[in-house]
Symmetry: C2
Subunit: 628 residues, 2 copies
């Protein structure tokens, strides 16, 4: 049978014995799991034993594109990296855009499953259906940029796409990320550390295989229509970037500030996307086949040197290292972004962890004795920059912070723990749940911990606007961002499944409804035109539901319980500052919402998926004994 | 706001005080319930008190078309009648095709809600937005044909479409049906008796309002494409009719024969669709806008007179009054069909009830003394014809059988009960669950009792073929018709929701996939083109799920429990004859399947919908105290 849109091939690499094999993946697997997160979960549940050390050779590391990655429509550039996360001990997944995912497809494979640990540093080179492990001892210790340049040079091709780690990953910073093209990060859950622990410095891909399309004419038609839709209504994302959110969030009192004590920041305007556009922006980057060009390229000459090759800070980075640390210096944020890139550490976790330390310092729980003389106060630009570098190098006080807020707080002591803003160990991203209750549910119920790509993180979504085609928007009453009724739970659950679908098919939320030109029905049409399937949104949403159930089982196997579906205490207390001052989430109401979510999901009162629900999703194989 | 595809108006009639009012129905109601069964359930749950006498004035009777009825595509001609059923005491619904549903829309209304009871016979006349109750004493006692002719004559318009009852409905035969155009029946659950109990002889509709279309060009395009698809592959339904099933079912050993004792009938060929085509067929009828023309028109001159005006027997009629009664005389079946039409009694229930009596007679449980001298044996043509007429007239032994198999068996005595083939009181339709396990689940789990329009009733469906676009058919292993694993339960549950959707949007299963040219994605496209919505299959399937949950709650309120989700004992015993001789359903396995279904549905172990599931479906208003 001819296959369309994908290669039908997975590469398996065992680093311990340097064995590389190919595996055929039958069509049904693409139909049932699509790729990305759902496909990764399938392999993790089938092949990873519970309770292994995430940084030991037993952990698996999966890179997965999807059934449609590398085909012509905008938005489908993303791929997933997944493993057991070293920062949470739970399911870890992170997506990235750029060109790496499509290039993996062109190289002849749809996914890579890595096991074991190399006895010395290596990198993986995949080229037109062939794969080899190459020595990387000379690359070990190199920053991201040098690593990319060296590999491209020694392989003699400037167009090789490389997913790599810098020293942060090598040194097992618990929230190390993986970077491709030096700007696109599989940011969260510490997957760069898993790569480092395996002595795997990089994966370089290149190929000239084009994906077959089932109905090329229809594909062209859809691509054309989507592009026209975009041109008619381009919005501001391309022009201002993701940091366009800073000013409206600040005005709404939900720009996380000084470790989530306030929701408005007096220097917001200094760090917003519009200011970036008008000052340090020198170019706009993009991803494979995308017309939006939301990525930033910034250049700073003084007081620091910042090179556009590392792109520029996203909203999350600006809020994490900026408002959350009380810092209103855009050039410093550009530099911090570059350091994070060079060392491949997650900007979100880095910012949230430093903000935690700053609050501890301000409250006197830690002192200059702990920080090696650094005055680690909110707003101290130099202190922030030093800390970012120390984390990347695992030096000084940064070595403690490199463990993430949860472990750092445990080591500092009991008094520090109330300032550690994390769920399941994952440092919070930059969305204030007291002004967006769906975000609160997302933080508590995301299998990866508090994760901005597993949740409805924009106030716009809180009005259910993300669910066009799923709910009768424009007809029903708009939903309030403060609502925490069953209707909000439903909105969250539907959006979560939609996001899971996006994270499995490799689709960027900024190109899909409501931000982008791709409607939900476009996604269905396009998938059918590429693959020759007769799928529907109904079937595609089931992939999202499958994802939620598999990740739940992964975490239950690892010992997580419904007690872990919670929020930091701070959110049940009043916001101390900003236009939303006084707002809080009511604990009882929140707990009720979590229980309602379980029922909506077909899970029991302890959050265990019921056997019948798993059977409905053809996941009966994943049902196991319930931990006591 | 301009509305498309529908009138946005419901007519309310209180027969007790002859009050007629109009009610605006907001767009959201169409989006959430579409029409038909789901919309009817909404009103029944909101306005009908539990435990009322189904034949008392408190019962409601609802006629409902849908948001798209009366628009140009083939297949969408059907409408629902719903009430508390007098034969089951449970939710009662029945659909019919023809022209009545579209004409109701043209008359200015989308649905009619009838309450109370007229103090003497009336009929309802709706004409271009106006409605009036007219005296019908002169029509009382008239057969269906005379009733239609008289009303058309007195209103002076031959094109008036009339839904009516004959003497069977007037005399409260528990399985009386409602007929339109003398050939299209809202057949099951005894709704004709509800009409009779209300002294409502008929509803005549006429109008020239055309439905506005949101995107007329796209509608034309879809209609054209669907018609072309049909012409390319017309199948045999138009040529042979629904009775094309007789021979293959007989060969497979699943043609219900002699009250479900056997699955093959020695005279099958004499009563099959092909024989009908080659002998008594004189014309082919159809429904509004439909090119398939599956309806039969038969003429017999001797030994009986059968007029084509009553159409001709469907598969269900042929098997119920034919093989199930051991009768292989097609002309006699044509006559029986005509008598059932004239008296408006359900052919299925009539046949199953007579077959029950025949088995009782053969086993000596009843004798000629009971039957008034009739030799009520399997295969006795004259006896069958006499019984049909007696039931229609509620005369002689027929008066007992007019209560349906359940009550008749109770009255005859304990020995008779094992031969009473019903679920929840509804006599079985003509599908053998021992050779199609999904049918068994359908019988047990249909809210209306054993009902051929609530279940996957064709062996073709048992292979999941009905779920094209919902499951990855052609990729997964075909499912066996004898399977009763969780996969079969899932297939049943998905199909049930799809059928509920069809029964709410008024779509005929014979025009939709896999029998007809309409694919599931066509249904979505078409609905959007007509209404201007941006709905998806996901949202439409939720209407089906809503239907299942509302009907479940209806029945729970009436005192039904999980014990009623069962099959007659006979199916847990071996088939006595036919090519499938020896086949049975295993009781434990069947019970497990029912429990699995509950879990898949988000219901508790007693089959109560969980609060969270109802909240997900925006049915939280329907959640009430659980009966103890």
């Amino acid at each position: 049978m001819k296959i369309y849109g994908h290669n039908g091939k997975v590469l398996r690499v065992d680093l311990s014995n340097r064995a590389i094999t190919e595996e055929e993946l039958p069509e049904i697997m693409y139909r049932r799991y699509l790729g990305g997160g759902a496909l990764s979960l399938y392999y993790l549940l089938k092949e990873l034993k519970p309770s292994v050390d995430p940084l030991g050779p037993e952990n698996m590391l999966i890179f997965a594109a999807s059934a449609v990655t590398g085909t012509p429509a905008l938005g489908f550039s993303r791929f997933t990296v997944a493993a057991k996360s070293p920062i949470t001990g739970a399911f870890g997944e992170a997506e990235a855009g750029g060109w790496w995912g499509p290039e993996l497809k062109f190289s002849g494979f749809d996914a890579i499953i890595i096991k074991g640990k190399a006895n010395k540093p290596v990198y993986l080179w995949i080229h037109n259906g062939k794969a080899e492990l190459r020595e990387a001892s000379h690359l070990w210790g190199q920053l991201a940029r040098e690593t990319q340049e060296t590999i491209r040079k020694e392989l003699g091709d400037e167009k090789i796409r490389i997913a790599l780690i810098g020293p942060g990953g090598e040194k097992l910073v618990k929230f190390a990320c993986i970077l491709n093209e030096l700007k696109h990060a599989n940011g969260r859950t510490g997957l760069g550390a898993v790569m480092g622990a395996k002595n795997l410095k990089a994966i370089a891909v290149r190929g000239n295989k084009k994906m077959s399309l089932y109905d090329p004419e229809r594909v062209r038609e859809i691509v054309k229509r989507v592009l026209e839709t975009y041109k008619e209504n381009p919005g501001t994302l391309g022009e201002v970037g993701t940091a366009r959110g800073v000013m409206p969030l600040n005005a709404d009192g939900i720009l996380p500030t000084r470790n989530f004590t306030s929701g408005s920041f007096e220097k917001a305007e200094d760090i917003c996307g519009e200011t970036m556009r008008d000052t340090i922006l020198v170019g706009r980057g993009t991803c494979y086949a995308c017309a939006v060009r939301c990525k930033r390229e910034v250049k700073v000459d003084e007081p620091y040197k910042v090179d556009p090759i590392y792109g520029g800070p996203e909203y999350e980075t600006i809020a994490a290292l900026g408002s959350l640390c009380g810092i209103g210096d855009l050039k410093a944020l550009a530099l911090a972004n570059q350091i994070c890139g060079a060392y491949t550490i997650d900007t979100i976790s880095t910012g949230t962890t430093i903000a935690f330390a700053m609050e501890c310092f301000e409250k006197g729980i830690i002192t200059k004795k702990d920080t090696g003389g650094i005055e680690l106060k909110f707003g101290n630009v130099e202190a922030m920059l030093q800390m970012v570098e120390q984390i990347g190098k695992r030096e000084g006080f940064g070595n403690l912070l490199a463990e993430g807020v949860k472990i750092a707080a445990e080591k500092i002591g009991k008094d520090a723990q109330e300032f550690a803003m994390h769920v399941k160990g994952l440092p919070l991203p930059l969305h204030e749940p007291r002004g967006k209750t769906g975000v609160g549910l997302g933080y508590a119920l995301s299998p990866t911990g508090a994760d901005h790509l597993e949740i409805p993180h924009d106030p716009f979504f809180e009005s259910e606007a993300g669910l066009k085609g799923i709910l009768p928007l424009g007809i029903i009453e708009p939903l309030s961002a403060y609502d925490l009724s069953s209707r909000k739970v439903r909105m969250f659950m539907y959006l979560q499944q939609l996001y899971n679908l996006f994270n499995s098919i490799g689709l960027c939320i900024f190109t899909a409804n409501p931000f982008g030109p791709l409607s939900i029905n476009n996604v269905v049409d396009y998938t059918n035109a590429v693959t020759g399937w007769d799928t529907s949104l109904w079937e595609l949403m089931k992939v999202g539901e499958r994802h939620s159930n598999m990740s739940r089982i992964f975490n239950l196997r690892e010992g997580f319980t419904s007690k872990d579906d919670c929020l930091p205490d701070r959110f049940f207390q009043s916001l101390e500052g900003g236009t939303l001052k006084g707002k809080k989430i009511y604990f009882q109401e929140f707990q009720q919402a979590v229980k309602t979510y379980y029922q909506m999901m077909g899970w029991d009162e302890n959050g265990f998926p019921l056997k019948g629900k798993l059977e409905e999703l053809e996941l009966e194989w994943a049902y196991g004994p319930r931990p006591s």
